[in-house]
Amino acid sequence: MISAIYNFALTTGANRVIRGARIEHVCGDPTLSAEKDYAFGMRIVTTALQTLTIAVPGPTLFDPMASGKEAAHAS
């Protein structure tokens, strides 16, 4: 699940949670240039797709902006 209110998603039991940009524009950022907006959105979507290839023990947060870092678990 891609969501900007990722804590909600984690506490209500979504297992693969990807941090989105903002509630009003989850997969991208219109304040950026068109090119950067697209790259940002692509990063979120690619991160989301990668999480589908990873086994998770339970609700787990993946932050597209925290590159190289380990995923953070909900509890």
């Binding site: 009003e24 524009h25 086994a55 339970g58």
Partner: protein, 349 residues
């Protein structure tokens, strides 16, 4: 009120003495007086109450022919006109629990008070808890006496036309209804007492019931994204421009499935957001923010994703009861499974 309390008791084929699973298909029949657990019930009820008749129905019949069973139970109740209907106890037996809940609903629909008893995890309790009185029991018949001792005084009072107090005081399971009442002391005092109890490590009980969210086992990982079929779902209120499907902006009772088989991305000329819970204008300029079709098409072209599923699913995820949302989720998931989808991206606003 004069005369003894008149009770009709609903039991399944097993407790009605007809037989076990081999007799679960039998339809509704009626016996005069108490049968099986009805005799224990009668004792628990005390002197001025008697089980007038026992309705017996096979569990399979009740679950497979619900409308017929309801009609037959209703006809007997119309004829017998009891003061109260008691169903079960069903303990942990799922079909029996559902049948007991059904019998209670049929009675209540006729203005006859009704009460049943079963294990809290019985599907009859979880599916039908709203609006009917259910006394919690253990999972097996060994708790029969305790169950009927707890149920009998409530049945008596219901039969005498009395209303029961709140579930926490009376011992039945919460029915999901709220009633205005006076707790005697104002909220700030109760809250401070609770806080003090908490700080001192004393036991305290919140007045706000907490229902923990359902735990869902994580789906196993996809072995190879390049061969996977990926679908997209959004709770961001995506609709076709002008909302021709007449979707609501909150508390959706249905979701919509749209085909994107021919689309490269979601154009603001053809799609928009209709959602009462956030500022929609930004999405209206680029709907791919809540349903990332443009990105997935690029990845599909690059061979990083096997295939973009031809259908998308959309609804506004706001002000919707959890039970309704769970129903939407189950239905979408079943459709995705039937469409041989390997993984889905759900974008939530």
């Amino acid at each position: 009120m004069s005369g003894p309390l008149r009770i009709v008791h609903y039991v399944n084929q097993f407790f009605g003495g007809i037989g076990g699973e081999d007799q679960a298909h039998v339809g509704v029949s009626v016996r005069a007086g108490a049968v099986g657990p009805g005799r224990v019930l009668e004792k628990a009820l005390g002197d001025d109450a008697r089980v007038e008749a026992t309705l017996v129905c096979g569990d399979n019949f009740a679950s497979e022919n619900e409308a017929d069973a309801a009609r037959a139970i209703g006809a007997e109740l119309d004829r017998l006109k009891p003061d109260v209907l008691v169903a079960g106890p069903a303990f942990g037996s799922g079909r029996y629990g559902l049948a007991c809940a059904l019998a209670c609903k049929v009675a209540q629909g006729r203005g006859i008070p009704a009460i049943t008893a079963m294990h809290p995890e019985n599907p009859g309790a979880s599916n039908a808890r709203r609006g009917i009185y259910i006394v919690p029991t253990g999972a097996s018949t060994t708790s029969m006496q305790a169950a009927l001792d707890a149920l009998a005084p409530l049945a008596r009072r219901l039969g005498r036309g009395q209303t029961l107090g709140p579930s926490e005081a009376e011992g039945y399971m919460p029915r999901g209804t709220r009633r205005v009442h006076d707790r005697g002391r104002p909220g700030y005092q109760r809250a401070l007492d609770m806080l003090l109890d908490k700080l001192h490590g004393r036991p305290y009980r919140s007045e706000v019931p907490y229902a923990p969210p359902e735990r869902v086992s994580p789906a196993p990982p996809i072995a190879d994204l390049a061969r996977a079929r990926i679908a997209m779902v959004t709770t961001g209120g995506l609709v076709r421009k002008g909302n021709p499907d007449r979707q609501v902006s909150a508390n959706a009772v249905r979701y919509h499935r749209h085909t994107v088989a021919e689309l490269e991305s979601l154009s603001p000329a053809e799609w928009e957001a209709y959602h009462a819970g956030y500022f929609n204008h930004i999405v209206n300029s680029n709907p791919n923010y809540i349903l990332p079709l443009s990105f997935l098409r690029d990845l599909e072209r690059q061979g990083k994703v096997g295939r973009v599923h031809e259908y998308i699913y959309a609804l506004p995820g706001v002000s919707t009861p959890v039970a309704v949302s769970a129903g939407h989720g189950r239905s979408i998931a079943a459709d995705l499974k039937a469409g041989r989808v390997d993984g889905a991206l759900l974008v939530a606003t």
